[in-house]
Amino acid sequence: MPLKAFVGHVRFLARQGLGLLWVPQVISLVRGEYTCPNLLGLPDLVRQYVSPSVRLLTPVLDARRGKRQLDRGYLSWGLQFAALPRVLRAWQKACVVQRSWEEEQGRGHPAGSALTILLLGPGYLVDDAYLNGNLQRKLQELGVAVVRADLPDAVTVPACRYLTKRPYWTTTRRALGALEHFRRTVDGVISIAPFGCGAEAMQGVLVNQRLRGANLPYLELYVDEHSSPVGLHTRLEAFCDLLERKKSG
């Protein structure tokens, strides 16, 4: 479904008479891991849906052989537009911003609410109020504090050590790492995934297995282009009722 949304965006932009479109091919962000296979073929897929007059800008981001390869991908893409010194300056600036953002993520643990929930799911779904049926807003209305799974890799990689085989999808590994990290501080776990997402189906089994002994309620949500926000909200309300009852004993 997110692919369909992406193609929708692309076609809207192309209709505006755009000549240049930025569609990166994100193969891998962490050494030895992959993003989703659908992202691997994203530029080629998009190519089929826009007219040949639109030029696609596709930097290849591939960290399978380590972070240095990824950096080279960024730099060589930048070199198409400017000379090396300028590219390097821009690169450094970007790194600083990224680092400060990452530090911010690690900190804020919202306190003061009655219930805290860990929200697992890919960023394109968790942050898109339209695709996820306004999930975050609804949780806010229900008086629930939400913890996101965006933790730096330095936390999530060691947290996944308990698994016999490390998952090779970055989102899955991050979600499982966040689960380990927050397991003792949250009251419940919600995961949201697009229907047909392959990695998510496996992640569900791993999360279930981990939570079975921990006495932590877990709600799995799947959305597609036919799901209605109303049904979603009912399930959220029921889940939060359950959490409240459990907490008050």
Partner: protein, 373 residues
């Protein structure tokens, strides 16, 4: 050890020889059937793909027959196959079947685990036996493949309905029982003659249509997963051109990968202009082989994939472009445990009809022939 393993087409014939060579007792699960699928689906999450469910069903069947160890292949993504074994182990554990899993994959991470697996597999085996077993397994794998290809060519030309399928079954059984390289060769030799006899003599009726089959490997080679696609097409009078071979897969993904060869380069060349590289699973192969088939002037392409297969979804999105550029009809079939036979058959018939009409128009006369025309 009594070792069981999931089915992959007729690969069990070779795997049995390999395991015997290693000094283990193979516990081959009964041929995959509806019940296997139902059992597997019952214990798996709904969103997982069809091959996973069937493999899990096979494992449960094998364990019922007294196996104490499961042999499985692994990998490092991005296709889900690489993580199958881990999830299947957890699911089996959850239903109280705590068994040992031996995963064959390129070692990474905790090396002691792989060393233990290797020791478990090879302990108590003499090198000579292992080598002989491996050679026999390889010969059998190639023989099975050759027989299946012969059947594909014979089926549209057979004189009596369903004779080819029966004959193939008998020959596969002979290969399975063969104990030496010589026997395998003999079976293959006599089978070649046998297949020739099944064909109708004379070429009065013209040639059959040729359709290529591409897609995810499991759904291409496993008859239950694809509802006997090859047999159905054959009975419709179509010669199926297979693009995926098990022996080729083993060479590419086990030997060449272990040696660090780049197996995608020739495929990337074929897929140039459509897909720039590896998307996991058989996504790149599907596009590359489709383009190659189109150049070989095959009459049409059937693309088969399990529901929610990530790499093939990408391929499915790009295939229409291949179809448009090369003027070749493509039929994409998505299968899962709910696929009904009748709907499947109807779609195949309609597609074959369409291809036949196209070919007839191109040649100017009705030269391509079907049994009902």
């Amino acid at each position: 050890m009594r070792v069981t393993f999931p089915h992959l087409g007729n690969a069990y014939i070779a795997v049995e020889s390999l395991l015997r060579g290693l000094g283990h007792e193979p516990v081959t699960p009964p041929p995959t059937n509806r019940r296997t699928l139902e059992r597997g689906s019952f214990h798996s999450p709904a969103e997982l793909c069809l091959p996973f469910k069937i493999a899990l069903g096979n494992m449960l069947d094998g364990l019922d027959q007294g196996a104490d160890c499961v042999l499985m292949i692994g990998g490092w993504g991005p296709c889900r196959l690489g993580y199958y074994a881990e999830i299947q182990r957890l699911l089996l554990e959850a239903v109280g079947r705590d068994v040992e899993f031996i995963t064959l994959e390129v070692p990474r991470g905790i090396y002691s685990r792989y060393w233990n697996h290797f020791r478990r597999l090879t302990s108590g085996a003499r090198l000579g036996h292992v080598l002989r077993g491996a050679r026999l397994a390889w010969a059998k794998l190639n023989a099975v493949e050759a027989l299946e290809n012969l059947a594909l060519q014979t089926r549209p030309r057979e004189t009596q309905h369903a004779m080819t399928t029966q004959f193939l079954k008998r020959q596969l059984d002979l290969v399975r029982r063969a104990a030496s390289l010589k026997e395998v060769e003999d079976v293959l030799h006599s089978a070649r003659q046998g297949f020739l006899q099944l064909r109708e003599s004379g070429s009065g009726q013209g040639w059959p249509l040729r359709l290529g089959v591409v897609g995810e490997i499991y759904t291409v080679v496993e008859p239950l997963a694809n509802l006997n696609l090859e047999e159905r097409l054959g009975n419709l009078g179509v010669e199926v051109v297979r693009t995926i071979s098990l022996a080729g897969w083993v060479t590419d993904h086990i030997f060449k990968k272990a040696l660090g060869c780049d197996i995608t380069a020739p495929l990337r060349r074929l897929a140039a202009g459509y897909l720039r590289g590896f998307v996991g699973g058989h996504g790149l192969e599907t596009i590359a082989r489709s383009a190659a088939l189109a150049k070989e002037r095959v009459d049409g392409i059937v693309h088969i994939l399990p529901l929610s297969c990530m790499p093939e979804v990408v391929a499915k999105g790009i295939l229409p472009a291949v179809s448009r550029d090369h003027q070749i009809p493509v039929l994409s079939l998505v299968v899962d445990e709910h696929t009904a036979e009748c709907g499947f058959q109807t779609r195949l018939e309609a597609f074959v009809d369409l291809v036949q009409r196209r070919v007839g128009q191109r040649v100017g006369q009705k030269q391509a022939c079907l049994p009902w025309s």
